[in-house]
């Protein structure tokens, strides 16, 4: 069962002449990714609306199909048949290119994610770097969308989004660098392989080390900001900016933005699972008989669930809080975590390194948080322009 998709691909390809096999094989994997993740996106929208409705004590979508399960199909037909409106003063070429670039860049990220044993599209040596390069390109698409709309809400939303994404990209990269330091490789398959194996039934995941845990927490914060999810959803703050950078998009182009946002969530959760949660490996040694791809997708959906849960519970941050949090709290802790990881590497085995590394991280966390709280001027908010 573990290799069912790999074997299926081999079986399908074996009907073709040998010269075509690598090309068609790669194409089959691409088709699988391009079909699977939008389907997952459709399911997630229902899941999210139902979950949010449960948190807010209402029912959620319940009209189309049993339990509203066919709602995404209705929504899809709606966005496909809607009129595609381009504002008269908009920059037509850039306005058209922005959603395309966004979705393409997001899809590229899936190419290097190991979704199961031997289930990876391109096993690159610099896989992690490729992923981050692709996710960095989405920022430009967001800017293009906001700027080309010639609308002040769009432009403000885009500037907010880009400022936020560029600020949180630094902690995102630095928290992942720790894993690269430990494994000595940028290849995601090697990172997963480094976390395989069990001691007394428990896995060797990086999250179960002091530096790994700290790195994972900061990675989670940075990904939430990077995907513009609540509580960091200022770029789309409905009450302030209509819808942010995609205000002027309708119909299928809007659907592409929506799709891109969720796909980015999937891929970045998948990357988090790969880096810190052992990728496709099982959480206990007696559960290894369950296929590896089931583990990968369970970890992915678990992160999605946490994203939805946070959206339903946390209020939105203010812009200055967002920036202060990134540069004054998360970034120093990330830099400290790099040193702690180095310390861990050179202290050798034993319980001493657990104590020292944990104490350094917890101490820094408390000191920094306490200092920031004391320095922060808590009181009536002062306005600069909107008096």
């Amino acid at each position: 069962m573990d290799q069912v998709f790999v074997l299926l691909r081999l079986w399908l390809v074996s009907f073709l002449p040998a010269a075509w096999q690598p090309v068609i094989g790669a194409l089959l994997s691409v088709v699988a990714i391009v079909c699977l993740f939008p389907a997952l996106f459709a399911l997630t929208t229902v899941f999210e609306r139902k979950g949010l409705a449960r948190i807010q004590n209402r029912l959620g979508p319940n009209r189309v199909g049993p339990f509203g399960l066919l709602q995404p199909i209705a929504d899809g037909i709606k966005s496909l048949t809607k009129e595609d409106i381009v504002p008269l003063s908009a920059d037509a070429a850039v306005h058209f290119l922005a959603p395309v670039l966004l979705v393409v860049a997001v899809f590229m990220g899936f190419a290097v994610l190991p979704m199961g044993r031997n289930m990876i599209l391109v096993d690159m040596d610099a896989g992690l770097l490729f992923y981050f390069a692709m996710s960095a390109s989405t920022e430009l698409a967001v800017f293009m969308a906001g700027w080309s709309s010639r609308n002040k809400y769009s432009l403000l939303g885009a500037m907010r989004a880009v400022a936020q994404m560029i600020s949180y990209e630094v902690p995102l990269l630095l928290s992942s660098v720790v894993v690269v330091m430990m494994t000595g490789s940028l290849s995601l398959t090697k990172i997963v392989a480094a976390q395989s194996g069990f001691t007394r039934g428990l896995p060797h995941w990086f999250i179960f080390t002091p530096w790994g845990f700290a790195g994972f927490v900061m990675y989670a914060i940075a990904t939430t900001a990077e995907t513009n999810r609540s509580p960091f959803d200022l770029p789309e703050g409905e009450s302030e900016l209509v819808a942010g950078y995609h205000t002027e998009y309708s119909g299928f182009k809007f659907a592409l933005f929506f799709l891109g946002e969720y796909l980015a969530m999937f891929s970045i959760s998948g990357l988090g699972a790969t880096l810190f949660l052992g990728g496709w490996s099982a959480p206990f040694s007696f559960l290894t008989w369950i296929p590896s791809w089931i583990w990968f997708f369970s970890k992915l959906m678990l992160s999605i669930f946490v994203f939805i849960w946070m959206r339903g519970t946390l209020p939105r941050l203010r812009q200055d809080q967002l920036m202060n949090f990134a540069w004054k709290f998360v970034l120093p802790l990330c830099l400290l975590n790099l040193m702690v990881a180095g310390l861990w590497r050179f202290m050798g085995d034993g319980w001493l390194r657990w104590v020292i590394c944990s104490v350094i991280l917890i101490g820094a966390y408390t000191a920094l948080g306490w200092g920031e709280m004391r320095r922060g001027k808590i009181g009536p908010r002062s306005y600069r322009y909107a008096e």
């Binding site: 770097l129 390069a133 920022e139 700027w147 990209e169 000595g184």
Partner: protein, 166 residues
Amino acid sequence: MSFVFYILAALTVAGGLAAMLLKNTVHCALALTVAFAGLALLFLNLDAQFAGFAQILVYIGAVAILVVFAILLTRGSETPRDGVFSRTWLAGLLIAAGVFAVLGWAVIGSVRVLPHETAVPTVTVLQIGNALVSRYVLPLEIVAVLLTAAMIGAVIVAMHEKEGQK
């Protein structure tokens, strides 16, 4: 030189030319991004994965964004009425020609000095890291100082503009 090289070179040069010739400054920045992407693809074409992806990450992900930020935060994206030529264009031309000459001299000189690689060398992240902090530590530090100076300069420019508004 393969067929792919010519396509990529044409793309890069076209992006660079468009960055200079287009009227709208934001369009110029986007065209510059195309040139950056072309350079990254050229690196990948040479099997230099690390350099290629780092080029995309740093130049498209950060530099291009900072360029458009600087354009939008300082003045409008339209071309000023009184032309784009500054009064010191002659000095600028001389400096640009000098930099180009030095770079060209270094590139042409490197053909003789460096060994001609036939097979693709395998470079690990560890080797790149070791090279950066041992042999190439001086260029790295110079770049760091340069970036710090640029950041201080940007802050001074931004502070100056804020004072002007009041």
